[in-house]
């Protein structure tokens, strides 16, 4: 397996994302043990400290928890947390883009809200 070193996304962020995806895909499950920083370093061909930073992000987000001397495990409810965050982020980004585009086209607030409400009711395609 390989991380994308050409990408401008830092390697440790890519590692955190990969683990989040493994949780979403149910390959890592609640209370299950997660790869150690050394396993990740071997798997992805990266410095163990970099792998460790990826794990620390998830520890800080409470997606993982630590058992002293045993390693890191997936928090119960981690999958829902990831889903929730992704939903919020994606939706917010889309909303931001809509607002910017509306401004460019001089669409008023009311017009925009109307449009969204119509969409919700299925009145336009």
């Amino acid at each position: 397996m390989n991380v994308n070193v050409e990408s401008t996304t830092p390697i440790y962020v890519q590692i955190a994302d990969w683990i989040r995806n493994e949780i979403l895909a149910d390959r890592l499950t609640a209370d299950g043990k997660v790869y150690s920083q050394y396993q990740l370093a071997e798997m992805f061909n990266i410095n163990p400290a970099t792998a460790g930073k990826g794990l620390t992000i998830l520890l800080d987000e409470n997606i993982l928890y630590k058992k002293r001397g045993l390693g890191m495990f997936v928090t119960v409810g981690a999958k829902d947390m990831i889903l929730q965050t992704r939903r919020n982020e994606t939706l917010q980004q889309l909303a931001r883009d809509i607002v910017l585009e509306a401004r460019r086209l001089s669409v008023t607030d009311d017009e925009l809200i109307n449009l969204i409400q119509k969409m919700q009711r299925g009145e336009c395609q």
Partner: protein, 295 residues
């Protein structure tokens, strides 16, 4: 711990190192980067005790490396100019290494050499440039020295053996952690391997940061020339380019007084800057790069 204090080295009046001060932690892989002639090799030679500093001090675990037996047995410098006796073959060189290095791993050396297709019957001077680099690096890994200094270790190696050797360094490091300082012109190539970057420029430390901090050190702003122009005073500019009607500015992230949202609202794109680009911009002679020459 390696501590350098105001380290200078002059060759015939020309300063190769002009006051290097830094502290390097044990058991990390550190990337030593900088332009050609920045002082990387001189620095490594001083750390290995091959050169005596003109002024200033360097301590490796409280020992000064020059003329010091403790440092000599626990430190190895791998470089292109390494010389081995002309009348002995590879097998003989490996055999004598046992006497120099207390942690010498003869088996590991043999296995790696056979993987790389280097016969123990070869003479060092008969090896091609790439093969010699491969042999030298294997020698360096097998010595398992607490301080392993690698000066452009991949010079001349072909693409395939290069990535194998990077992997070998990593696997050896994971199994037997040690301080590894690796110099390279190509930061991109060693980025996955290192934890910290020491950027040398004109014989001085330009930046010493973790890889993560380096990747957040700068941001690239792209937008309409007029839109960007009003932010000129809002940050420390590292690089700029104008390709009308667009303009581009690379600024030090810490000095930027506006947040990303404010910039985006002003139709300015905010992009991350890779660690190797940060090094390029920080050590650039002018803020416009090569384009300035043709102005």
């Amino acid at each position: 711990m390696i501590q350098c204090t105001e380290l200078t080295k002059s060759y015939r009046g020309k300063q190769a190192l002009a006051g290097v001060t830094c502290a390097l932690d044990e058991q990390k892989i550190i990337g030593l980067v900088g332009r050609n002639g920045a002082g990387k090799s001189t620095m490594l030679k001083i750390l290995a005790g091959h050169l005596k500093p003109t002024d200033g001090e360097v301590c490796i675990n409280n020992d000064k490396p020059f003329n010091n037996l403790t440092v000599a047995t626990n430190t190895i410098l791998i470089e292109e100019a390494m010389t081995f006796p002309n009348n002995s073959d590879v097998a003989h060189i490996l055999k004598s290494a046992e006497k120099f290095y207390p942690n010498w791993q003869g088996d590991l050396a043999k296995k790696l050499l056979s993987y790389a297709g280097l016969s123990p019957k070869n003479f060092h001077y008969n090896l091609s440039k790439g093969q010699r680099s491969t042999f030298n690096l294997i020698y360096g890994l097998a010595s398992r020295c607490a301080v392993t200094l690698l000066d452009e270790p991949m010079n001349g190696m072909d693409e395939a053996i290069r990535s194998d050797m990077y992997r070998a360094i990593l696997k050896e490091y994971i199994a037997h952690p040690r301080t590894i300082i690796i110099s390279s012109h190509h930061l991109k190539e060693i980025e996955h391997l290192i934890e910290e970057i020491l950027l040398i420029d004109n014989g001085k430390v330009a930046l010493h940061e973790s890889l993560e901090h380096m990747q957040q050190y700068a941001v690239r702003l792209i937008g309409q020339r007029d839109a960007l122009e009003q932010y000129r005073t809002q940050a420390n500019i590292l690089f700029e380019k104008q390709e009308a009607p667009f303009a581009e500015m690379v600024v030090q992230a810490q000095t930027l007084t506006l947040n990303e949202q404010q910039l985006r609202d002003a139709n300015i794109q905010v992009l991350p800057v890779s660690a190797s680009d940060v090094c390029k911009y920080v050590t650039a002679k002018s803020r416009g790069g090569i384009d300035d020459v043709f102005e």
